[in-house]
Amino acid sequence: MTNKVFTTVGKPEQRIDAVEKSTGKVRYVGDYSVPGLMHAKLVTSTQAHAKITSIDTTEAWKVPGVRAIVTGEVFPYHIGPILADRPPLAFEKVRYYGEPVAIIVADHEYQAKLATTKVKVEYDPLPIVNSVQQAFQADAPLVHENAGSYTKIISNVYPKTGTNIGSHIKIRKGNFEDEWENCEETITANYSFNLSDHVALETRSTRVEINPRGKVIVHSCSQSPFTIKKVLNQFFNVEVGNVLVHIPMIGGAFGGKGTVQLEPLAYLASKSVGGKLVKLEMDREEDMITSPCRVGLDATVQLGATKEGKLVAGKYTYLLDSGAYTDQAAGITRAAAIDCTGPYDIPNVWCDSYCVYTNHPFATSFRGYGHPELTFAVERTMDQLAKQLQIDPIQLRIINGIKPGHTTPTQTVLTANNIGDIEKCINRAKELIQWDEGQKMVSGKNKVRSKGISMFWKTSTTATNAEAGAILTFEADGSVNLNCAAIELGQGTKTILGQILAEKLGMGMDKIHVTMETNTQYDPHQWRTVASSSTFLAGRAVIAAADHAITQLKKTAATVLKCSPDDLDIGGGKVYLKPDPAFGVDIKEIALGYTYPSGHSIDGQVVGIGKHIQRHLTPMDEETGFGKPGPWWSVGVQAVEVEMDTRDFTYTILKGVTVLDGGTIINPKTAQQQMRGGMYMGLSYATSEKFIFDEHGVVQNTGLRNYPMLRYGEQPAQYLVDFIESPAADGPFGARGIGEYGVIGAPACLANSLSYALDVALNQLPLTPESIWEASRGSEE
């Protein structure tokens, strides 16, 4: 396969959604309206932790158009993707500011919204858990009184009753304790940052109806249509087959639309009005606070090394702020443990990764799934260790870079196929950032330029039975429809799958029609569109479906051409004889079966079916973490050059570099944009983003007026991306996943460059001029 010159794979094909999007013609979930549509709005908690003593809806009922008011006792049960610990509507108590307390259903959205302001909820405030450090103290108030009693939905989650621990994942590899004692050089450092938000352009939105036959029809902007079916079945007792989920194109997700929050609420709302179609759309402020956000982290990293800089032992304590409910934070806790060391070969590893309950908005998956967080901690420590050892930071990374033959923290053996080449990546990044010209130089009055670098890795922690399928139907003109449940959320997955199919069939992209929307009733099952897994899983399914179709095409063509299927090849819209490509039959002649001049017909439409399921993945051992959690590791290096004003601590990012080994790159342009977009996002939360809480756990910046983000035009002036392509034998055309990767190393390399500029350890995000000023003052005192 790899000897062949590809015609479409590896080419910068135009994204197939480019025209619709750039002309503004895409209809997102929130854009639909039909007569009779009802609207739901949420009453949300004004307290971060309190008992609900009463809910008075009298005044709300007086608002014209109000048809139903739903409160928590309608469904007093817990749901969740990993640990079922979250009531969809709070009952008895609230655990975060902004938590849904009631749903108003009305004829018009403004009526529902007005009515939400008239519901009087009385609270009896409880003590607040406002940080992970506080949550860990022995006498801390409990966010959940009986966490250990919650139902586990998947394995590898370990809540502890009587504590604020929602899960605790352990890695025990080698013998950390003994080896640590013998290390010639050691370092211990602490890092932290607050929760932040995805802020996808499209706020979350859903419509649900329960039709008279009992079918539950869901339209949503979700990354997980089949999980919606599962949740409505598991917790609401609707038969799986009676839930139909439709997903149009999505306006950005970044993991935030991977979990199921609004659909159960809209289901309860629809049920309260006799199954009518109800729309629930979040305002920006609700999308940021009421819907799940991104985890916070407190990390302590200990590294022990020889004088020459070879790492011997590493200990990692990660306290993930999951907010009020574990949701995907429990999975992130696990993912952070799996890759706790970063891409380094360390024989003795000890990691305690805790999912910690606080009274903050709850967190879910966010692009990188814990890796930008752990990478920040690990890579800052590597730079500080390099300084201590007086070794060049790049050299220290090369000495310790993980390679085939090494094992990961969970003791998965690495091979040339399941991990990329980190050393090639760092050498290329070193060239692009012009490291050898110096890491720091004075560039003007009060101005210094400095460079920082970060390595990173990540595996794709899917379910062990994660799968995808694809169905191809051929048109009378010989073109092909591709249907699969990979969700287009702006990452370009439909284009990539189209390219894989075009390559397999030897067709141009203009002959491939990829269905942009997803419908669970006719698209084959796909686990979810998360974890950078779609190119791999759905890509493999598309290849299988293409092979299936090719078999059919060859069979029919062999009959028509009176030869064996083995004599035939496919390409250029034809099935042709290998030794004489001019002799063949057009695909359009056989796409719907072949009809002889006599009228007799054979074979019928070509329908290709393909599927792929993860192979040989396992859960982790509870005590040691031993297991094989993911199919491959993509690795990469990021670097920035900044110019810092040493007087007022303002800075600009002059240059950003990303080098990734994602195996074969299917589309270099979309991959480049993925890396740039990822780095931009990583730099945004490294420079700007965090939720600010007051002493009552109330979020102070619930909207974009006060929640700063990097803006268009504030990206690095120079934005270089390059790829190392060490093929993965089992990936489609040698590809691994790349979707999340651009974000992972960005915060770390920025912090490294700024720390180096000032010779001050900057270990807290975000890196605002104020926080840098604070850290500099601290280091002077």
Binding site: E109, Y110, Q111, K113, L114, T116, T117, D283, E285, R647, D648, T650, T687, S688, I692, Q700, N701, G703, R705, N706, P708, M709, L710, R711, G713, E714, P766, T768, P769, E770, W773, E774
Partner: protein, 278 residues
């Protein structure tokens, strides 16, 4: 989405606008003058503002003026921030308002709206304070022209039913040496940690501040300290910090200590650069 019902009326004369306002008030209803609408809309949609009526004054011709008339620059209250900047008629004002919000918002935000903002910043007022601007106010058939300074006490103090029609700046101020500096938390777009506008008139620096206290201000006392060139710059700045009208703001955009640090740096830059122009 704004949840409550309200009336939207767009009169074409100042008289009518005042009348609508006073009539509503008489009936016990709340009315607001409406110009760009950005603040009314964004606060209303998050239930932080409620009104029964908005009176859009953009239909009043006098409010849309932007021109030099004789010795004066006349700026209608409903002229957008971007139009002011693009006109280049008053460079200091252009520099300052170009740093308010983002480009799309500035297409809508008007100078009158900015001066009457509910927020503490109102940065558009800084160049006007240092340029000793006058304002034309209307209430019914009556119009009055007064100095901006005389009616600006932490906010514009207007009579009930009165609204800002025009801002008038003496032409001689338009090309004085000047400087506007704004520091935000991080982004180019954002509320000021410190925002300052200054110009030099007859060898004296006239300077106004936003983001430092709970309201924008110009202080003659502070100016006299800063203009005392016999004293070294850092010492003047030190003294000036003692003469701020009230405590420095301490909030999520910046702590009191940080704002003070930034203000000192900004003042140093302004004094050093503007004193060269004297």
């Amino acid at each position: 989405m704004i949840a409550f019902d309200f009336k939207y009326i767009k009169p074409t004369t100042a008289k009518e606008a005042s009348k609508l306002f006073l009539n509503a008030k008489q009936k016990g209803n709340k009315a607001m003058f409406y110009s760009g609408g950005t603040e009314i809309i964004t606060l209303a949609r998050v239930n932080q503002l409620q009104t029964d009526m908005v009176i859009d004054i953009k239909g009043i011709p006098e409010c849309n003026v932007l021109e030099i008339r004789g010795n004066e620059l006349v700026i209608g209250s409903t002229v957008s921030l971007n139009d002011i900047a693009k006109s280049k008629l008053f460079p200091l004002l252009g520099d300052t308002v170009q740093r308010i919000a983002d480009h799309t918002s500035r297409n809508k935000i008007t100078i009158g709206g900015n001066l009457n903002s509910e927020l503490i910043y109102k940065e558009g007022i800084l160049p006007l304070l240092v340029a000793d601007a006058k304002v034309k106010l209307a209430k019914g058939l009556e119009q009055r022209i007064v100095s901006l300074e005389s009616i600006f006490k932490k906010q514009l103090e207007l009579e009930t039913g009165e609204f800002l029609v025009q801002i008038i700046v003496d032409k001689s101020y338009l090309d004085h040496p000047h400087m506007a500096k704004k520091r935000t938390k991080i982004s180019k777009v954002g509320y000021p940690v410190v925002s300052v506008a200054a110009l030099v008139k007859e060898c004296q620096i006239q300077i106004a501040f936003s983001g430092v206290c709970q309201y924008p201000f110009r202080s003659f006392k502070l100016e006299s300290v800063l203009n005392d060139t016999k004293v070294p710059v850092m010492e003047r700045i030190g003294t000036a910090m003692q003469h701020l009208p009230e405590d420095v703001v301490d909030d999520i955009q910046g702590t009191k200590a940080y704002r003070t640090f930034v203000l000192r740096n900004v003042l140093k830059d302004i004094l050093e650069e503007l004193e060269l122009t004297k």
